[in-house]
């Protein structure tokens, strides 16, 4: 990793400690405050992938990965929010020159976007929103960041549209994780004239999320594990610090090792030539890893780990939600298998 990225890593780390950690409970309970969005914007993080002239930081793949990892280690919600704005919304908007300026409103924190792609990963049929040629009408049941004002959604034919009106978010779901983002059904009833069709290639988009999702997963693992290590150094039971007991210490040492290995791989593939297979491989491994480590970290904390105030249980929930929203799904495993076997594989 070069100096520039090292500096970024430490800058984002400090930002997370100073600006996010202290308000983590607020983020969980009330969502990401606009104040934090403004601070993220001031650093260029909010429009991380957007060009400078649109308020972004124009980060390269490695920079973006580092940003997401470091933010996720403090708040997976914040990291996922940045991911959603950049990898999905901003990237899609930039496909259409006419609406470039909308990127500016996102990277400045004045607008908030969301992008609905979950059907593709969750054995659900498209068709929630039906396009009859005049109107887009219907309900999408599980929309993350559903209090956005910019929606990019597929119609029943899998064509994507950007809308800024004609939506209404319904009652929130109970939230498994990523509680900084609203999660609810959204009803759409939009005049097609008010929707902008975007030439989104959903398969390409989904190929592009492997690395950022992996980075968030590794951030979750890093955040949870660091907290567990600190706790095990402080907390005593049976007259000894928790760190002195082999089953806990060895479990954390194992996790620490795996995390280091995965982080180096992340850096390698983010700064090397683009290799989608490697990105997918990293995602498949690191999402499972994030779930395991966050579970271990919770267990190290005992009963306190089960309480929100200790800031540990959210990693466990968020890792699970990330795995649902972000991948490691059957279709992806079939894809990877087919690459490895150099012919269709894993389809039965």
């Amino acid at each position: 990793m070069d100096e520039e990225h090292r500096v970024l890593e430490s800058v984002v780390g400090e930002f997370a400690t100073k600006e996010i950690e202290p308000i983590n409970k607020q983020i969980e309970l009330e969502g990401i405050p606009i104040d934090l969005k403004k601070k993220l914007s001031a650093q260029g993080f909010l429009g991380a992938l957007a060009p400078y002239e649109l308020g972004g930081a124009s980060l390269d793949r490695l920079g973006y990965s580092i940003l997401l990892k470091q933010l996720a280690s403090a708040s997976p919600s914040v990291a996922f929010y940045i991911f959603l704005q950049n990898s999905l919304v901003i990237k899609s908007i930039l496909l259409e020159d006419d609406i470039r300026e909308k990127v500016m409103s996102i990277s400045s924190g004045n607008s908030s976007g969301t992008f609905y792609y979950s059907n593709k990963l969750n054995f659900l049929d498209y068709g929630g929103v039906v396009n009859d040629g005049r109107m887009l009408r219907g309900t999408l049941n599980a929309v993350i960041n559903s209090d956005a004002n910019i929606f990019i959604i597929p119609d029943n034919n899998g064509r994507f549209y950007l809308l800024e009106n004609g939506y209404s978010a319904l009652d929130e779901h109970e939230k498994l994780g990523l509680r900084g983002l609203r999660f609810s059904p959204v009803r759409f009833e939009v005049d097609i004239g008010n929707a902008v069709e975007l030439p989104v290639n959903i398969d390409e988009i989904l190929d592009d999320i492997h690395l950022p999702i992996s980075s968030i997963a590794l951030g979750i693992a890093q955040g949870a594990l660091n907290k567990a290590i600190e706790y095990a150094k402080e907390r005593s039971a049976f007259l000894h610090k928790l760190k002195d007991f082999q089953p806990l210490a060895f479990g954390m040492a194992q996790a620490y090792s795996q995390l280091d290995i995965l982080k180096e791989y992340m850096v390698n593939i983010a700064q090397g030539e683009r290799d989608i297979n490697k990105e997918l491989m990293l995602k498949i491994v690191s999402i499972d890893f994030a779930r395991e480590v966050s579970k271990l970290a919770l267990q190290v904390h005992g009963g306190y780990g089960y309480l929100m105030d200790f800031g540990i249980e959210k990693y466990y929930r968020d890792a699970m939600f990330l795995s649902i929203l972000g991948g490691n799904h059957i279709d992806e495993k079939i894809k990877l298998s087919s690459t490895i076997f150099q012919e269709k594989a894993g389809w039965i």
């Binding site: 599980a142 039971a237 049976f238 267990q299 009963g303 089960y306 249980e313």
Partner: protein, 373 residues
């Protein structure tokens, strides 16, 4: 060998399942979870409809299982109002039973069991609360307790406290005693804990005792035997936790099976089929370990190795099953009760002896059986 439960127990199981499916509506599950409220109404229904029956242990076991299968928060709340009652049954005086136990059994009063402390956690022998004997024979209690189920709704709690210093490091568990403390007494305060990840319908609190005067007749059993009473109690409640756990695991399995029944695209994936097979196997293994431990306990011959095996394995099966079911059902699971089951399940590995504690118990008692002291 006989692996079947008596017919009337299986009948009862059906009845409880019907009750849970009928009364644990989606709205109620969600309401009590979101609002972190103890469901007095459901507890009352469960009592009035004869769901909770403390007089037959197998009946109670399958009841716990079936209630938690549908919703652990509401399920546990339905029977946990008597938490600690076995202590009084086994070690309480006739007066204590009459005054404190019977109203609980009649569904009128709520009891709690206060052992864990903020600093000691799993390490029961490390507690710091003290009961000091006064010249008039009464005791004065000082200290605090953590993670106390029913803590803010109980009428009285059974408290473990030191009645003397530990004689040595190895004998830290000596000189501990138990007493019944009424929550309305001066010096008792409860601070309801909010923000639990799961089982949010159950009530949990931190208790503080400041110079609480306890009359001598409220001491349970013998002075100095408190640690032993608690361990005896754990041999019972760990089996209940195992039952909750297999209920949760079964509930998770139910949901993935439901999806497989409805969605051919899902069920035709062989990886999903294997997941169901593996999960069904583990659930059954956990159930058998639980029933074996229960069978011995119910014959008044509990085996701590078998009990801890059941508790540890069943708890890990509960989280494994909830995690796995949620992972593979994806968004479908995330917007249904399955996500709640996932949040609920994790506590099973922590309370009534974390998995780590259970493993230590298994190791030590197992090696004893093998002739090692």
């Amino acid at each position: 060998m006989d692996f079947t439960l008596p017919e009337e127990i299986e009948e009862k199981r059906k009845k409880v399942r019907e009750f849970a499916l009928r009364e644990f509506t989606e709205e109620r599950k969600r309401y009590y979870d979101e609002n972190e409220k103890y469901p007095f109404d459901i507890r009352k229904m469960a009592y009035e409809q004869g769901i909770v029956n403390f007089s037959n242990p197998w009946d109670l076991l399958v009841t716990i299982e079936e209630l938690c299968r549908v919703d652990p928060g509401l399920g546990i709340s339905s029977f946990v109002y008597a938490f600690g009652s076995e202590i009084l049954m086994l070690f309480g005086s006739d007066e204590q039973k009459k005054k404190y136990l019977e109203p609980v059994q009649r569904g009128e009063k709520i009891m709690g069991f206060a052992v864990t402390e903020p600093v000691a956690g799993s390490d029961v022998a490390g507690i710091a609360s003290k009961m000091e004997r006064q010249p008039d024979g009464s005791y004065v209690l000082n200290g605090s307790k953590m993670f106390i189920t029913n803590g803010s709704i109980a009428d009285y709690v059974l408290v473990l406290a030191r009645t003397g210093p530990p004689p040595s490091e190895e004998k830290r568990h000596h000189n501990m005693s138990m007493a019944i403390v009424e929550m309305k007494w001066p010096g008792v305060s409860a601070n309801k804990l909010r923000g639990k990840m799961g089982v949010r319908a159950t009530d949990t609190a931190e208790l503080v005792f400041e110079n609480v005067r306890i009359p001598p007749e409220n001491i349970i059993g013998e002075i100095g035997k408190g640690f032993y009473y608690v361990m005896t109690f754990f041999n019972i409640t760990r089996i209940y936790v195992a039952a909750m756990s297999i209920g949760i695991a079964q509930g998770a399995l139910d949901m993935i099976v439901e999806k497989a029944k409805k969605d051919r695209r899902f069920s035709s994936q062989e990886s999903i089929q294997f997941t169901i097979a593996e999960m069904a196997t583990r659930v059954d293994a956990a159930r058998l370990l639980t029933y074996r431990a229960a069978s011995l306990l119910f014959q008044f011959n509990p085996d701590p190795v078998f009990t801890s095996m059941a508790k540890y394995f069943a708890a890990e099966t509960a989280t494994y099953a909830a995690e796995t079911a949620l992972k593979v059902t994806g968004l479908d699971g995330a917007v249904t009760s399955l996500e709640r089951l996932f949040r609920d399940s994790k506590i099973m590995e922590i309370w009534e002896g974390s998995s780590e504690i259970e493993k230590l118990v298994i190791y030590r008692m197992f090696m004893k059986k093998m002739g090692v002291e």
